[in-house]
Amino acid sequence: MAYEFTKEDLKEIENIKAKYPEVMPATLPTLWVAQRRFGHVEPEVQRLVAATLGLPEAHVHGVANFYTQYYKVKKGKHVLDVCTCLSCQLCGGYDILHHLEDKLGIKAGETTEDGTFTLNQVECLGACGYAPMLQVTNDRYVNHLTKEKVDNLIEKLKNGEELEYEQIKMPQHKNI
């Protein structure tokens, strides 16, 4: 399948390029545009990014492979990145990961047969005070996880519901 950017994408990429004195800095943001459009940045998509920016394919390939958030292979519709790093480990991050493995019938790093969920174990996501937590498809954080909350989340995602941003108040604040 041949991948192509839409007119809107190309306009966005032009806007991105205007932020920098050279073209190369647009590599990371353009990979983001591509991943949002196609759901992944497989080698064919990397080639499209390289051609669009006029940069060597090897450069784009090298960058895409360095950063963990770019999907170099196709993933499930929803990617569940469960943090198990230090504070999440202390607060039961592995229990959450194992619960999801049992519930989805897959191991960390795998995708369900129907392609709905990919489960990953990831490094610190910077939500240590709200552990255990996970991130859904590079976007929303879901904090203070319990098995019940995880079950609800899976149902929500299956039903195609949008996830709200979970605001966490500063502990000493009352008004905000």
């Binding site: 932020k19 920098y20 004195p21 050279e22 190369m24 800095p25 647009a26 590599t27 990371l28 943001p29 990979l31 983001w32 450069h59 090298g62 960058v63 360095f66 950063y67 963990t68 958030q69 770019y70 198990t84 790093c85 230090l86 504070s87 480990q89 202390l90 607060c91 490094e123 610190c124 996501l125 910077g126 939500a127 240590c128 005070g129 709200y130 552990a131 991130q135 590079n138 976007d139 929303r140 954080y141 941003y165 605001q167 966490i168 500063m170 502990p171 000493q172 604040h173 009352k174 008004n175 905000i176």
Partner: protein
């Protein structure tokens, strides 16, 4: 002994003001007055150097972990030559235990934007980038909005407050790499490359982004600047610990009842801070504290009496303030498990450029996994300690040190527990 009066402290960085993230609410509460003052009040602020002097006197020690005086760092920028100069704001926070800068993005983005603009004026910077870790998608969106609002109001752009100062301000999203929090790696990432740290010298002030003078500051560091300009260096210096003054965003996580980010003066006794965070969960006893992110040496509960959260006090017991992201562990914590998990993190995040780090972090993790699984020997502990000395100081950036310190200090401070797990007998006699 600490004399810091923190019980009556009122937050200034993240005050309890509803909807402060909105630009109109921020300006109603005195926002952008500091920027206006330095740009228009020529009697008070005799040019960029005067601003640098004030910030230098305040001694805002970098809140990203290194603790270097921000104003002094600014003064390292060479004289302007008419070409581009950059300020790169480091919002990559990824050190396990650290989750404070996101609170600024969410609750008071304009205090950071204003601080960055003041820094840009002081260093005669032409373009500001804020690098935010890619996982913080929600905060990237919030910052895009806040910056666009500030452009619309004329606080960013051409001839700000009708002065001759003009600057642009952009968000750059990361894409998942702890190493990009290292300042030169962040510059590589901003330039659109793999995040490999650069050899220093040349330092970024000489050759930074695209070979031009560049300064890198942490988000919280810059967010302190408007208050320093408004209230003066002496006001800032009077808060908290003498040698590490000012308010700090403490991120408290682990086994406490109310984990979260707390804005309080520097120099609070560690044990008091645990009480601030609601005390120990389930009434358990305290076992250990990692004071400032996973790379800062762990402290046993019995080391904490009279120790406070400032670099001098923590140094007396062999640790550091780091990012002030404090991780609390209770008596049931398996220290061997914790150290293995930290080693796994650094192994995963090593960029692979320098051999001692690429190979060393792997060996640390492998040996610790062996010990964790009950297959280790006591001599493995000494092998680990020997490995740390072969990694430390032998690489381009400090990731190898950050990986080595927790291993060395955790083994030294909890040797009994490690030995108890090393059940395999070495040198079986035939």
């Amino acid at each position: 002994m600490s004399t810091v009066d923190w019980k009556n402290y009122q937050p200034v960085l993240l005050p309890d003001i509803k909807d402060l993230y909105k630009i109109d609410i921020y300006t109603k509460n005195g926002g952008y007055e500091a920027l206006k003052s330095i740009l228009t009040d020529k009697k008070k602020w005799d040019g960029p150097k005067a601003v640098i002097e004030e910030v230098k006197n305040a001694n805002i020690r970098g809140r990203g972990g290194a603790g270097f005086n921000a104003g002094l760092k600014w003064s390292f920028m060479p004289p302007a030559d008419g070409g581009p100069r950059y300020l790169a704001c480091n919002g990559d926070e990824s050190e396990p235990g650290t989750f404070k800068d996101r609170k600024i993005f969410e609750y008071n983005p304009h205090v950071f934007i204003e601080g960055a603009l003041i820094a840009a004026y002081a260093m005669e910077v032409t373009t500001i980038y804020v690098y935010i870790r890619g996982e913080y998608k929600s905060y990237i969106d919030m910052m895009e909005k806040a910056i666009s609002d500030a452009y619309k109001k004329g606080f960013i752009g051409k001839n700000i407050f009708k002065s001759d100062f003009s600057v642009d301000f952009y968000v750059h999203s990361g894409a998942g790499a702890y190493i990009c929090g290292e300042e030169t790696s962040m510059l590589e990432s901003l330039e659109g490359k793999r995040g490999y740290p650069r050899v220093k010298p040349p330092f970024p002030a000489q050759k930074g982004l695209w070979g031009r003078p560049t300064t890198i500051n942490n988000i919280e560091t810059l967010a302190h600047v408007p208050n320093v300009i408004n209230k003066g260096a002496d006001w800032f210096k009077a808060i908290g610990a003498e040698n590490h003054p000012g308010p700090i965003l403490y991120g408290i996580s682990g086994h406490v009842n109310n984990p979260g980010v707390y804005e309080l003066p520097s120099g609070i006794p560690v044990l008091d801070l645990i009480e601030v965070a609601g005390g120990m969960k389930n009434g358990k006893k305290l076992k250990a504290v990692i004071p400032g992110g996973s790379s800062t040496p762990i402290l046993r509960a019995d080391q904490l009496d009279g120790i406070s959260m400032d670099s001098d006090s923590l140094r007396t017991v062999g640790s550091m303030l780091g990012t002030a992201g404090m991780v609390i562990m209770d008596e049931d914590t398996d220290i061997v498990d914790v150290l293995w998990r930290i080693a796994h993190f650094y192994h995963h995040e090593s960029c692979g450029q320098c051999t001692p780090c690429r190979e060393g972090t792997g060996w640390l993790e492998k040996i610790l996994l062996k010990i964790k699984n009950g297959e280790g020997e006591v001599r493995d502990l000494d092998l680990l300690l020997d490995l740390t000395t072969q990694m430390e100081g032998r690489t381009i950036c400090a990731l190898a040190d950050a990986a080595a310190w927790p291993v060395r200090f955790t083994i030294n401070r909890f040797r009994d527990e490690f030995e108890a797990r090393c059940t395999k007998k070495s040198h079986a006699v035939a």
